[in-house]
Symmetry: C2
Subunit: 252 residues, 2 copies
């Protein structure tokens, strides 16, 4: 599957000025003689905390063979726009908001599948870090089965800072942890804005983030842990189940 | 990822006699001049309802390039042994048995992930049909993260017949259906042997099977349906949740 790429100095410079958030990564040719425009590109990329990969000319030809006219720089971009957490918080909604936070989920199949499930379960947004996370790309878009166009994805340069901001804005943060005391179904998801934090496939949730959580919950398993996309589905649908039952009770 | 293959007439003939169930598919060279052994192989394969693929010599070289000594026939085999439904039913267990039935799940990622979730959720077996289903292969084994070795997989040539046999053996059959009246969480999973039937990614559950189900349940979605592996995780963990809560209540 093809990724979304933008080639050449001018288009990338313009994108960095106008919508740097769309850029997942910059590939810059190793030993390329930098002109002023290229220096400016590197500067803007660093300001926006975009990952830069120094790539040999051979690798360039290998990755981007059909577009050799790359002028030393290629940007991998998201097929949709990311939004800021502030903009997400500003969205008006009747009732409570539900957010999924991914701390370092790096597999595009898991990420795409989590997007699809989040929309299906009626969640309002997905927050990812721009480090250690799979970016939005064409694979993720395909696996999400189009769901990517139905939910805002928030990209942050500091997960920790974003969680502080969420808590200030009346969100409760729920983190999953193997050895937590409470089960995921022992939380009442029906009367608060909340964010569920899911950890990476290998490492789980980082300690800093765990320490900031209001609740930690476990998802018990008779074997190893679940795959992160399945674990997310279980928790999001438990929230959906509780909310649905409460709505039906209120209707009676 | 490599599949598991067995090459050549004699090894395949022996396997057909002793453990035909392990064979997922036979590749037989197109226009190959059949000797008696080969005729016998085809005969045994048909008796055991094994899918036979007529494959051109070019394709043979392409698929199995590192093993050109295939004598006109290659078998793709499961990395683990399948068991019969009768043997599954004969396994002794305290308490109720829980089975997952896959009606035509063809994606190896979904299949592998469902195996992992089934073990995690404490299910006792997985039943698949030998038609329209992804067979157990090396990809499935890897995605299952080793779980394949912790749960019996039952392969049947007639899903419909197997469901009849399950019902005769005191199993209740629960099928998922988009427009069912009840939600998946409105079933009591705690006081019966049951089998949850999940449909294929594209087509859902076939009509014959739906008609045999004791219950049909829906899994509501605000978007399209969930990916089949996520949907399975949600339902299996709802059963696990109910069983856990009942156990804790009984302990008090």
């Amino acid at each position: 599957m093809e990724n979304n790429f933008i080639y050449g100095k001018n288009p990338i410079y313009e994108l960095l000025l106008k919508n740097a958030k769309r850029i997942n990564k910059l590939y810059i040719q190793k030993n390329f003689s930098f002109d002023n425009r290229m220096k400016k590109i590197v500067e803007l990329a660093k300001e926006n905390k975009i990952v830069i990969s120094q790539t040999s000319l051979n690798k360039f030809y290998e990755y981007f063979e059909e577009r050799p006219n790359f002028q030393g720089v290629v940007a991998s971009v998201s097929p949709v726009e990311y939004i800021d957490l502030e903009d997400f918080l500003a969205i008006k909604k009747d009732g409570f908001k539900k957010l999924v936070i991914l701390d370092g989920v790096s597999d595009p199949y898991n990420f795409g599948s989590i997007i699809r499930t989040s929309v299906a379960a009626g969640f309002d947004g997905i927050l990812i870090s721009n480090h250690r996370s799979c970016p939005l790309n064409a694979t993720v878009e395909k696996i999400s089965s189009g769901a990517i166009n139905h939910i805002p994805v928030i990209k942050t340069t500091s997960l920790s800072g974003s969680i502080d901001l969420l808590k200030k804005n009346d969100f409760w943060v729920i983190a999953t942890k193997m050895d937590a005391k409470d089960n995921y179904y022992e939380i009442d998801y029906t009367d608060m804005n909340f964010a569920v934090v899911m950890g990476s496939e290998g490492k789980g949730i980082s300690k800093t983030i765990l320490n900031k959580a209001d609740f930690t919950v476990k998802l018990e398993s008779d074997f190893e842990s679940l795959n992160v996309s399945n674990a997310t589905a279980v928790i999001l649908y438990e929230a959906k189940r509780q909310i649905k039952i409460k709505e039906n009770t209120n209707l009676r």
